[in-house]
Amino acid sequence: MFAYLVRRIIGGIVLLIVMSLVTFALFFASPVNPADFSCGKNCSPAQKKQTAAALGFDDNFFNQWADFGKGVFVGRDFPDDPKLRETAPETIAHCPAPCLGYSRERTANVTSLIKETLPVSVSLAILAFIIWIVGGVLFGVIAALRRGTIIDRGLVGISLVLYAFPTFFVGLLLYKFVAIKWGWVDIPRYETIADGGITGWASSLILPAITLAVFFMAAYVRMTRAYVIESLSEDYVRTARAKGLPARAVTFKHALRAALTPIVTMAGLDFAGLLGGAIITESVFNYPGLGKLAVQANRDYDLPTLVGLVLLLAAFVIIANIIVDVLYAVIDPRVRLS
C-alpha cells in the first residue's frame, strides 16, 4: 500500500508538471496578447512591447515555463529587473516559494490570491456537498426502494427537471425570490466564520450552496437509484434475505453498502472539482472564491493566476483520485487485499 501511494504521488507530480506545460502552451497558442490588455487602449506599439517585457511575456515559451518552475521551488521577484532592483527596490514584489506566479492584473502573488479565495470555495463546496450527498443519496435510496411507485416516478421526474436547469438560472431564481422578493434570507454576501460565527457563515452560504447542490443532487438521485436497484438484485442480497435478515438490515447493511462504493468514488471526484471553485454559482452570487477568480482571470488574460488555478485544480483532482482509491480499498476488501 505504501509503495502504491508513493507511486501514485510521483505520478501525480509528473502529471502536474505536464499540466503546467500544457497550460503555458495553450496560452502561447492563443492569438490574444495579454500584454496588450494590460497596456490599455491608448497604447503605442512601443509601449506594448515595453509592457510585454515588463510582464515577462516577451521571453520564449520554455524560459517562461522554466522561470515558473524555479519560482515554485525558490521563489521569484516581480519584475525581475536588475536595474529596477538597484534604483527602486521598494517597487520589486517578492513572491516566496512556493511561488505560483505574480498577477499584475491584481497586484498580488497568486499564492496569496489562492489563500484569500480558497476558503470561500471550500466553504461553499463543503456545504453544497453535504446538501447534495444527503439529499441525493436519501432520495435516490427512497426511489430505488419504492421503485415503480408514484414516489419513485416523482423523485426521478423532479431530478430530471432540476438536472436540466442551468445553474445560472437556478441561482438567479433563488436570488430573485428567496432573497429579494420573499426576503427569507439576507442578500447573500460571504461571511467568514471569524466575522459571522458558524451560523453567519452557514446562512451566508445557504443559497449558493443550494444552487450548487441542486445540479449534483439531481444527478446523485438518479445515480444512487440506479446503483441501489442494481445492488438489490445482487445474489448476495438474495442470500441475506434467505438468511432471514429483517428487510432493513438487508437494505442498509447489504444492498446499500455495495451501492455506495461507486457513489463515494464519484462524490470524491466531484467534490475535488468543486474545491477548484464553482464558476457559475460564485459569479451569480458574487462570492469571492476560486471560481470567480478564474472567471475574472480568464477575462483579463491574467496568465499567472490562470496557471496557478489550473494547477491547483489539477492537484485537487489528483489528490482526490488518490484519496478515493484509498477509500475504495477501505470500503472494498477485494481491492485492499489483492
Partner: protein, 583 residues
C-alpha cells in the same frame, strides 16, 4: 453601450469606456435627457451610500494608471483631487469647463498652450495631514514615464506633448522616477517654483486643463509612499473620503471621512454620506433585482451598470427612480480601405447609403437603448455638429440610391463583402443580421464573421481580410481632439504590424493631416471646433466611417438616495460629489 453586450465584454468595454472621460450630455436632445433629481438636492449629511461597481473590476486605483470612466469619475468625486476639476453640473458648458480644485487657478498659458502654469493651494493636505506640494504633482507626472511599472494609463498623451525627446525604441528617453534615466530632461520639462508648477510642451496643447480634469494622470503622488506596481490599489486620499482598510479586488472596499480634508478648500464635493461602500462583482441582474425591488440596503444604492433590456418592461413601476441618459459613446462602422471592394469610394458610398441604422437599433433593443448617430463625434463633445452627409441618409437607409451607387462600384458583381464584428451574443448577432439584410437589399452579398476574444487582435492587423467592421468610441475629454485623431490620424495609428485604432486603415493624406494639425494648434477652442467639423466633413466625404448610434444609459437608484444627478461633468454617470442618503 453596445460593447458591453458583446462577448468581448469587459475587456473591450474597459478599453472603450476608459477612453471616455468627459462629455457634455446635453439636456436638450430628444433622447430622454438626464433628469436630475433636484428636488432633494439639498441633502443632509450622514448615512451610508452604496456604489455597485458591477462585474467589471476596478483595475487600478493608482491615479496614473486609471483609465476607466467610472473609476476616474468616482475617485475624482470622492478621494482624488487634481489641479482642476469639473463642477457638479449638468449644463453642457458649465459641466465641461474645468474649475480650480487643488490649484488656485485653472491654468495659465502665455504662448497658446505650449507652456502651462498652475499654482497649488497652500491649505490642502493629504489624508495623513502632510501638505500637498508642487513636488507631489511633479512626482505624479513623472510616474507616467515608467512604462515598465506604471502600466495601463493614458500616459501616451504626455509622451506626445511634454517636452521630452523620443528614443529609438519609440518611447520617451526619460524612463520614470524609479530608474531615473535622463531625469534631468524631465526636471526641465516639469518645474516647480514654490507652489507653482510649470509644464513645458513640445507643441501647443490648448485643452491641456480639460485633460487634467477628465483624467487623473497628472494627479499628485507621494514619493515616500510609492511602491510602484504594488501601489496599484493603494489610495492616498486628498479628498473627502479615505479607504477604510484595504481594497479587495472583486469584493470592493469602504470609504470613510478623511478628517484632513477641509471642506472650505473644496467647492465641488458636498461629501454628504458618512460612508461610501463600494461593492464589486455583482452581476447586472443581481444589482437590478435589488434595485427594482428597492430591497434592503439597495435603497441606498447607486450604480453605473445599466438596466438590462429584459427589465425595460418594469420601468413604469419605478419611474421616480429611473433615469435615462445619453451616453458619451458612439458606435460606428468602418469600411476597410485595404479591402479590394472598399478601396473604391463608390463602393463605400453605396455601403453608407445601404446601411440601416434603424434596423440595427431595433435589433439591439430599440430606442430605449440607442439613438441614431450622425457623426463619430458624440453630441456631448463641445464643437459637435451633425454631419450633413450622414444626416442626409435616412435612418432606414436608401436602398434605391445604394443600388444605383453600387452600379458605379468597380468591384466584380455581385459585390461580396465580409462583415467582421464582435459577436457571439444573441443581440450582437441579431444586430449584424439586421445590417446584412439592409446591405443585401441594396445588392451586396454579405458574409457575417462574428469574432469573440480575438476581435481586436484581428481587426488591428493591417492585412486582415474583412471588408467592413464595427467599433465604438468615446472622447477622453471634451474635445474632438480626443476623437478624430486617435481614430483616423494614420500618422499615430498605422505601423507595419498594427493599425492602432484606425481599424479601417484610413489614410487621410497631407490634406487631412494638416487639417488635423491646424485644429490641434488652434488655441481658441471655439475656432478649433470649427476646424474639427471641417475634418469630420472630409472624413464623411471619404466615407472613412459610417455612424450607427449613440448608446442610451438606463439607470435606477435606490429610494433613499438624495440629490441624484447624472451630470455631464461625470460623463452622464451618477455624480457622487452631490449624492446623499436620507434616513
Amino acid at each position: 453601450m453596445a460593447i458591453s453586450k458583446k462577448p468581448f465584454a469587459a475587456l473591450a468595454a474597459s478599453a472603450l469606456a476608459l477612453s471616455v472621460a468627459a462629455c457634455g450630455g446635453s439636456d436638450d436632445n430628444g433622447g430622454g435627457g438626464g433628469n436630475s433629481d433636484n428636488k432633494s438636492a439639498a441633502g443632509s449629511k450622514g448615512g451610508t451610500a452604496i456604489f455597485f461597481n458591477g462585474v467589471r473590476n476596478t483595475e487600478h486605483w493608482d491615479p496614473q494608471r486609471m483609465y476607466i470612466g467610472r473609476d476616474l469619475n468616482n475617485s475624482g468625486r470622492l478621494f482624488y483631487r487634481s489641479l482642476v476639476a469639473y463642477p457638479a453640473s449638468n449644463d453642457a458648458k458649465e459641466g465641461t469647463t474645468p474649475v480650480a480644485d487643488l490649484a488656485t487657478d485653472t491654468g495659465k498659458t502665455d504662448d497658446g498652450g505650449k507652456t502651462w502654469q498652475f499654482t497649488v493651494r497652500d491649505d490642502v493636505k493629504w489624508q495623513d495631514g502632510k501638505p500637498i506640494t508642487c513636488e507631489d504633482f511633479k512626482y505624479g507626472a513623472s510616474r507616467n514615464f515608467a512604462t515598465d511599472v506604471i502600466i495601463g494609463g493614458p500616459a501616451n498623451y504626455l509622451f506626445t506633448y511634454l517636452d521630452i525627446p523620443q528614443g529609438k525604441d519609440g518611447l520617451p528617453v526619460y524612463d520614470g522616477p524609479y530608474k531615473k534615466d535622463n531625469q534631468d530632461l524631465f526636471d526641465k520639462a516639469v518645474t516647480c517654483d514654490g507652489q507653482t508648477i510649470t509644464y513645458h510642451m513640445k507643441k501647443v496643447w490648448p485643452d491641456f486643463p480639460q485633460s487634467i480634469a477628465s483624467l487623473r494622470y497628472l494627479d499628485p503622488y507621494r514619493q515616500d509612499l510609492d511602491k510602484g506596481d504594488a501601489s496599484n490599489f493603494q489610495i492616498i486620499s486628498n479628498g473627502p473620503y479615505k479607504l477604510d482598510g484595504n481594497w479587495t479586488e472583486g469584493t470592493g472596499g469602504t470609504f470613510v471621512r478623511n478628517e484632513n480634508w477641509d471642506e472650505s478648500t473644496d467647492p465641488i464635493r458636498k461629501a454628504l454620506p458618512d460612508k461610501w461602500e463600494f461593492r464589486e462583482g455583482d452581476q447586472d441582474e443581481a444589482i437590478y433585482d435589488q434595485l427594482l425591488a428597492d430591497s434592503g440596503d439597495a435603497q441606498f444604492g447607486v450604480t453605473e451598470r445599466r438596466l438590462p433590456p429584459t427589465d425595460y418592461g418594469r420601468i413604469d413601476e419605478v419611474k421616480d427612480r429611473y433615469t435615462q441618459v445619453e451616453s458619451p459613446f458612439v458606435d460606428y462602422l468602418l469600411p476597410n480601405f485595404n479591402s479590394p471592394v472598399f478601396k473604391d469610394k463608390a463602393c463605400r458610398e453605396a455601403l453608407a447609403m445601404a446601411t440601416s441604422r434603424a434596423s440595427w437599433i431595433q435589433a439591439g433593443g430599440g430606442d430605449r437603448a440607442f439613438k441614431p448617430a450622425y457623426s463619430v463625434i458624440n453630441p456631448s463633445v463641445p464643437g459637435y455638429t451633425e454631419n450633413p452627409k450622414f444626416k442626409s441618409i435616412p435612418d432606414e437607409g436608401d436602398p434605391a440610391g445604394a443600388k444605383a451607387k453600387l452600379a458605379e462600384c468597380s468591384a466584380p458583381k455581385p459585390v461580396k463583402i465580409k462583415f467582421t464584428y464582435s459577436g457571439g451574443t444573441p443581440t450582437s448577432d441579431k444586430q449584424a443580421s439586421a445590417l446584412k439584410d439592409a446591405w443585401d437589399k441594396a445588392g451586396f452579398v454579405t458574409e457575417l464573421d462574428p469574432l469573440q476574444d480575438t476581435y481586436y487582435s484581428v481587426i488591428q492587423k493591417p492585412d486582415a481580410d474583412f471588408d467592413v467592421t464595427w467599433a465604438g468610441w468615446g472622447a477622453d475629454w471634451p474635445s474632438v481632439g480626443t476623437v478624430i485623431p486617435p481614430l483616423f490620424d494614420s500618422r499615430i495609428n498605422i505601423t507595419k504590424s498594427s493599425n492602432g485604432n484606425d481599424y479601417g486603415n484610413y489614410k487621410g493624406g497631407p490634406e487631412v493631416d494638416s487639417a488635423i494639425d491646424a485644429a490641434y494648434a488652434e488655441a481658441d477652442l471655439d475656432k478649433a471646433a470649427q476646424d474639427w467639423a471641417g475634418v469630420d466633413a472630409k472624413l464623411s466625404d471619404d466615407v472613412a466611417y459610417i455612424p450607427l448610434e449613440i448608446t442610451i444609459f438606463n439607470f435606477l437608484h435606490g429610494s433613499k438616495i438624495t440629490g441624484y444627478s447624472n451630470n455631464v461633468s461625470t460623463n452622464g454617470y451618477a455624480d457622487l460629489a452631490v449624492i446623499g442618503v436620507s434616513k
